[in-house]
C-alpha cells in the first residue's frame, strides 16, 4: 500500500531524511519509531503530500504521490503532530468541512460525518465548538477528520502525545481498531506505545532507517512466552554466571557491565509462564551459594537501549 524508495529530504545543509526506503502492506499497522528530531514528522509530511522530498519516490496503492498528487492526497488521512483544528467550528460542522475539502460528494457527506463521529465516539459533542473540548476529545476530532473520507492510508504523528493515561489507553484501543480497515503508519518516540499498537516497527535515527522488523525480532518486546529479569549479585562473575545458566527456566544469561567491582549484573531471559517461580528459585540458589542478591527487577525493554544496541554504539 505504501512503497517508499530512496526518499531524501534536506533543509539547507541539514539532512532530515537520508535515502529512506520501506514498504507497508495493505491492512498493516506499522510503528515509525525514533527519538525526537529523527525525521519521523518529515517523513509523514512527505507521505501526506505537504512537503516535496529532495529525492526519491513514493507510491500509495500504485498512485505516484508527486505525479498524481491530488489522487494520492485523497488516499491519505493525516493527523499532524499536536492535532491542529479550528476552535471556532462545531465538531459536526468541521468534519463536514473536511469531508468537502477531501472531495466527498455532497450527498454522501452527512452519512460519512456521522460514521466518523460514531467510530471516534464523538456523538455527544457533535454540536460543541472544538475550542470548548478537552484534549482527549480534540485528538478524537483530529482522528475523525482523517477518517471522514475513508482513506486507504492513515498517517498519525504522535497520536497520544499530551494525553492523560486513561485517554492514552482509549486512543491506542481506537487506533488498533482502525487498523482493521486502514493501513496505518504511527509515528512515535514511545516504544511501549508502538509495541501495544503495532506488530512491526521501522526504526529511524538521524534520518536513516536503522532497523525494520517485527517487534519481537527487534528484541524490543520480549516474546509473549518470555520475560526479562535483571539480577545483581555480589560474587565471583564466572561462577555466578554458570550457576544462573544451569537453572531450569532460564533460557539465556547476558552479562552486563556492573557499576561496582565485585557485583555481577546479568540479564536473564526466562522462559515459560512460571517466571515468578523461576525468580524465587534463582534467588534461593544464589543465597545458598553464599552470595548476596543486590537487586532483582523485571525489565521492560526501552527504546534508548534498543537504539544503542541497533546502532552498534551500545557496548555499554
Amino acid at each position: 500500500m505504501i512503497a517508499v524508495s530512496h526518499l531524501s529530504k534536506t533543509y539547507g545543509e541539514r539532512r532530515a531524511l537520508d535515502d529512506v526506503s520501506f514498504t507497508v502492506a495493505q491492512g498493516e499497522v506499522v510503528g515509525f519509531l525514533g527519538p525526537n528530531g529523527a525525521g519521523k514528522s518529515t517523513a509523514l509530511r512527505i507521505l501526506a503530500g505537504f512537503l516535496p522530498p529532495t529525492a526519491g519516490e513514493v507510491r500509495l496503492g500504485g498512485v505516484d504521490l508527486f505525479r498524481e498528487a491530488r489522487a494520492a492526497r485523497r488516499l491519505t488521512g493525516y493527523v499532524p503532530e499536536h492535532t491542529p483544528l479550528y476552535p471556532e467550528l462545531p465538531v459536526r460542522w468541521y468534519l463536514d468541512h473536511m469531508a468537502a475539502l477531501e472531495g466527498v460528494p455532497r450527498g454522501d457527506r452527512r452519512r460519512r460525518v456521522e460514521e466518523a463521529m460514531e467510530r471516534c465516539c464523538l456523538a455527544e459533542v457533535a454540536g460543541t465548538f472544538i475550542g470548548k473540548l478537552s484534549k482527549g476529545y480534540r485528538r478524537r476530532v483530529g482522528l475523525a477528520q482523517a477518517l471522514v473520507h475513508r482513506p486507504a492510508v492513515l498517517l498519525l504523528d504522535e497520536p497520544t502525545d499530551g494525553l492523560d493515561p486513561r485517554q492514552i489507553v482509549e486512543a491506542r484501543e481506537l487506533i488498533r481498531e482502525l487498523g482493521r480497515d486502514h493501513t496505518v503508519l504511527v509515528a512515535s518516540h514511545i516504544l511501549a506505545e508502538v509495541s501495544l499498537i503495532c506488530r512491526r516497527a521501522i526504526i529511524i535515527q538521524e534520518g536513516r532507517i536503522v532497523a525494520e522488523d517485527s517487534l519481537e525480532h527487534l528484541g524490543l518486546s520480549a516474546r509473549p512466552d518470555q520475560t526479562l529479569v535483571r539480577l545483581e549479585v555480589r560474587g565471583p562473575a564466572a561462577e555466578v554466571r554458570s550457576l544462573l545458566e544451569g537453572q531450569t527456566g532460564v533460557a539465556e544469561v547476558r552479562q552486563e557491565t556492573g557499576e561496582e567491582p565485585g557485583v555481577v549484573r546479568c540479564l536473564l531471559v526466562v522462559e515459560g509462564r512460571q517466571d515468578s517461580l523461576v525468580r524465587e528459585q534463582v534467588v534461593r540458589r544464589v543465597v545458598e551459594a553464599g552470595w548476596e542478591v543486590r537487586s532483582l527487577a523485571a525489565v521492560v525493554p526501552d527504546l534508548e537501549q534498543a537504539f544503542l544496541r541497533l546502532t552498534g554504539d551500545g557496548a555499554a
Binding site: P52, T76, Y78, P80, Y86, E88, W93
Partner: protein, 233 residues
C-alpha cells in the same frame, strides 16, 4: 474552493470581530457624513465616497489579517494543503469570503447617498459609479490583505503591513505631485485614489476598472505563489 469560502464566512459571522468592525465602520462614516452635511459645501457626495473609501481601507486589513496567517500559526495549513484542494482554490475561497463581507459593509453605507438622493437631488448615476468604485477598491484591498497574510504567521504583522501597503497605494497620487514627472506620472498611474476620481463622478471607464481588477489579480497570484512556497519552507 466553496468549502473554504463557506468556512471563512462561518467564522466571520460566528465571531464578534465582523460585528464590531461593522459598528465602528458605520460610526466613523456617520460622523464624517454629518460633518460634511453640516459644512454645507458643494460636492458632498464625492466627499462621502472618499470618506467611505478611506475607512474601508482601515477596516479591510483587520478582516484579512487572519485569513492565512492564522492557518499558519495554528498548523491547520498543513491539513489544508494535504487535501486535494489546490492553492488557487484556497486563496480564491478566502478572497471571495472576505470580499463578500466587505461588500456587505459597503452596502450598509447606502443610507448616506440615499439621504442625499432624497433631499439633495444628486445624480443616481454618480451614486452607482461611486459604489462600483468602492467595490473595485475592495477587490484590491482584500487581495493585498490575503497576500500579506500569506507571508507571515503573525496576524498583527499581517494586519499592520497590509494597512501600510494600502495606505501607500492610496497616497501615491499626492506623492506623485511632490515627485513631479516623469516618475510622478508613473506613480500616479499606480495610485488607488487616481483611478477612483472618475468613478466617483459617475464616469465609468474601462481603463480604471481594468486597473483595479488586474491589481487584485496580481496580488492573488502572489498569494498563491506564497502559499505554494510554504511547502518548501
Amino acid at each position: 474552493m466553496s468549502a473554504v469560502l463557506r468556512k471563512e464566512l462561518y467564522i466571520y459571522f460566528s465571531t464578534p470581530l465582523a460585528y464590531i468592525l461593522a459598528a465602528a465602520f458605520l460610526l466613523g462614516n456617520g460622523y464624517l457624513f454629518s460633518v460634511a452635511v453640516l459644512s454645507g459645501q458643494p460636492g458632498i457626495l464625492g466627499l462621502t465616497f472618499q470618506d467611505i473609501a478611506v475607512l474601508s481601507l482601515l477596516v479591510t486589513p483587520l478582516l484579512t489579517m487572519r485569513l492565512l496567517a492564522e492557518e499558519g500559526a495554528r498548523g491547520t495549513v498543513e491539513l489544508l494543503l494535504t487535501t486535494p484542494v489546490s492553492e488557487i482554490g484556497v486563496v480564491l475561497g478566502k478572497f471571495l469570503a472576505c470580499l463578500a463581507l466587505v461588500g456587505g459593509l459597503l452596502a450598509l453605507t447606502v443610507l448616506y447617498p440615499l439621504i442625499l438622493l432624497v433631499f439633495g437631488g444628486v445624480d443616481p448615476g454618480q451614486v452607482l459609479g461611486g459604489y462600483l468604485g468602492l467595490f473595485l477598491l475592495a477587490t484590491v484591498s482584500v487581495a493585498v490583505g490575503v497576500f500579506v497574510s500569506s507571508l507571515t504567521d503573525s496576524q498583527v504583522v499581517a494586519g499592520v503591513f497590509s494597512f501600510v501597503v494600502l495606505l501607500l497605494l492610496w497616497f501615491l497620487q499626492p506623492i506623485s505631485l511632490a515627485v513631479g514627472p516623469p516618475v510622478g506620472a508613473f506613480l500616479a498611474a499606480l495610485g488607488l485614489s487616481t483611478h477612483l476620481t472618475a468613478l466617483s463622478q459617475g464616469l465609468w471607464t474601462l481603463s480604471d476598472t481594468a486597473f483595479f481588477l488586474s491589481m487584485a489579480a496580481a496580488f492573488l497570484f502572489f498569494a498563491v505563489l506564497s502559499l505554494e512556497s510554504r511547502r518548501w519552507r
